[in-house]
Each structure stands twice: as structure tokens, then as C-alpha cells.
């Protein structure tokens, strides 16, 4: 419940404020968003499995975002930022699909 409310609040805040992203954050934000989405899907799967824990979710969310940002940062320093970003997005997208498939199997039995 509070998750839905928080999401709505965040979207409205983003629409109202229209913030300009600082240049140093620009490469990291899209990856961070995808990493956070991965954490959210993982949390949804945990709920369906009955093993959800607020603590685990918060830690996985934050660590996902940080690790993703770190990988992109390292990639940029090594000169392979674009490729590493693509790799991170691919891996996260695969995890999201896997989690979504697990949720679907549990909820719909298919």
C-alpha cells in the first residue's frame, strides 16, 4: 500500500519540480532506475513467496542502485562505459523477466 502511495508521490514530485539532472549524475540515473526496478520485482516475488522483509528490500534496493552506479563509474573510468552500461541493463532486465515469470507462475499458476 505504502509502496503505491510512495510511487505516486514520487511521480507527482518529479512532474511538478522538473529538476535538471546534474551532469555528473546523468550516466548513472538510468542504470540506477533499472537497478531499483530489479529490486522492486525481487520484492514482489518475495511477497508472493511469503518471505518479504522490509529490511531485506531496503538493503537490496540501495545496494542494487549503488552497485549499478559503481559498475557504470568503473566502466567510464576504463573507457568501456557504454558497453558496461549495456551489460548491466541486460543482466537486470533478465532478472526482472525471471522474477516476473516466477510471480506469474505463483499468482496465475501458469
Amino acid at each position: 500500500m505504502i509502496a503505491v502511495v510512495g510511487l505516486i508521490v514520487g511521480v507527482i514530485a518529479g512532474l511538478l519540480l522538473q529538476p535538471v539532472i546534474p551532469v555528473w549524475l546523468q550516466p548513472y540515473l538510468p542504470i540506477a532506475v533499472v537497478a531499483a526496478l530489479d529490486a522492486v520485482f525481487g520484492a514482489a516475488r518475495a511477497i508472493v513467496d511469503g518471505v518479504f522483509s522490509d529490511r531485506v528490500f531496503v538493503i537490496s534496493f540501495v545496494s542494487n542502485v549503488l552497485v549499478a552506479a559503481l559498475i557504470v563509474f568503473l566502466g567510464d573510468q576504463l573507457g568501456v562505459g557504454a558497453q558496461l552500461s549495456t551489460g548491466v541493463v541486460v543482466v537486470l532486465a533478465m532478472r526482472i523477466f525471471a522474477n516476473a515469470a516466477a510471480i506469474r507462475r505463483k499468482l496465475l499458476g501458469a
Partner: protein
């Protein structure tokens, strides 16, 4: 049933709860929503924020595409030029063919013709040889189209004297007065007919009467059906 239990868990998760860590979850979701919206807004002007390597890739893509489009443009321009010059050539060939068809049609008597010329009327003499002489004289003087009565005079035209004394042209009986309609240079034609001992003298010597009228516009509208050549073929 595990599916049912799962639904119960989902419903339980949606129930409002109030403790600190739950509020933290809400805050993270707010952050996520915020990030998504900001990123979606920023993705619109992504060129300004793209990495150098991305920009190089985009530039590369664009120049490759530009090269391809340039090549296509060249191809299409060449095709257009070829078609345009081809159609111009076709038009010229068509105009030339039509001109030749008109000239040959007048020669063969398959099309009507008009132009400056003479109207020659011969009366009182029923002599096929005299009429043939007249035609020869007119041809020598450059007549381009000749009509006698209702019969077009062409290369194969012949004049005969029927047993009853009437004149036949190409097998068609023609009665006097004989009216020639001739297209050509009127002065030359008239002079050719008037030379001493020529056609007009012969008519008058035979007891007949002839008049020559020069006209600005003479219409030769008798036509002749074209018969296919039975033996002659164009030599290569």
C-alpha cells in the same frame, strides 16, 4: 492451493501498516518514481547528455545512413535523367515518324491534302491521252497532289478510253468537263500548262476549252485505299 496462498499474501502486503521500516520502503518507492520521471524527461534531449563514445557511434550511424541516402539519390537521379532523355528521344522519333507518314500518305493518296495550287478545267475534249499528258506535265512541274474529278491521281493511276469514247481513270468513268485539282507552286504549274505546244494549246487545237485558275488554297480530298505490295519487299 499455493496460488490462493500467494493471492492472500499479496492482499496482506497491500494492507496499510504503520512502522518505521515500512515508511522507508515508501520513501524508496517515491525515490524510484521520481527517478523514473526525471529520467524519462531527460531522455528527450539525450544528445546533450550522451557519452562521447555514444556520440561517435551516433555520428557514425548518421554518416553511414547519409552515405546510403546519397548513393540512392545518385541512382534515382541517373534513372530520372535516363528516362527523361529517353522520352525526349521517343518524342523526336514519333514526330519524325508522323511527318514521314504524312508525306508518304500524300504521295500514296491515302490522306487528304491542301495547299496553294491550281484548278484546271478541260472541256470539250474526251481524250485519255491528253488527260495523261496533262498529268505528266503537272508532275514535271512539281505537282505534289492531283485529283481528277473524284479520283486521286497517284503513281499507278492509268487513263483508258472506253469503247464508247468515255474516259476511264483507274477504271472509274469520268465525264467532262474534267476538273483537275492540283497542289504545287501555282505559277510554275500554270506556266507548264501554258507553254507553246503544251497542254492548253493541244486542248484548243482539239476543239476544246481549258481554263487555269490559280488558288491560294486547293483541297485534294479524294482518297485511295492502300493495297499491300504483293511481291515487292523493302530491300535491306
Amino acid at each position: 492451493m499455493s496460488t490462493n496462498r500467494s493471492w492472500v499474501r499479496v492482499r496482506g502486503a497491500l494492507r496499510p501498516k504503520r512502522d518505521a521500516s515500512h515508511l522507508l520502503v515508501g520513501a524508496l518507492f517515491a525515490l524510484l518514481g521520481f527517478g523514473i520521471v526525471v529520467q524519462v524527461g531527460a531522455a528527450d534531449d539525450n544528445l546533450a547528455t550522451a557519452r562521447q563514445s555514444d556520440l561517435v557511434g551516433i555520428l557514425d550511424d548518421l554518416s553511414v545512413r547519409s552515405d546510403r541516402l546519397q548513393a540512392e539519390l545518385r541512382d534515382l537521379s541517373a534513372t530520372r535523367d535516363r528516362l527523361r532523355s529517353g522520352s525526349a528521344g521517343d518524342e523526336a522519333a514519333l514526330a519524325e515518324a508522323e511527318r514521314r507518314a504524312a508525306v508518304l500518305g500524300i504521295l500514296a493518296g491515302t490522306v487528304a491534302a491542301e495547299g496553294p495550287g491550281l484548278v484546271v478545267t478541260i472541256d470539250g475534249v474526251d481524250d485519255a491521252a491528253l488527260l495523261l499528258d496533262t498529268v505528266q506535265e503537272l508532275r514535271d512541274a512539281g505537282a505534289e497532289a492531283i485529283q481528277l474529278g473524284d479520283v486521286r491521281v497517284v503513281a499507278s493511276t492509268y487513263f483508258t478510253q472506253a469503247p464508247d469514247g468515255r474516259v476511264q481513270v483507274d477504271g472509274v468513268t469520268v465525264d467532262g468537263p474534267y476538273e483537275f485539282r492540283v497542289i504545287g507552286d501555282p505559277r510554275t504549274l500554270a506556266a507548264a500548262l501554258r507553254i507553246p505546244g503544251g497542254v492548253l494549246d493541244s486542248v484548243r487545237g482539239g476543239g476544246g476549252d481549258a481554263t487555269v485558275v490559280e488558288q491560294e488554297t486547293v483541297t485534294v480530298d479524294a482518297l485511295r485505299a492502300l493495297s499491300a505490295a504483293g511481291y515487292a519487299q523493302p530491300a535491306p
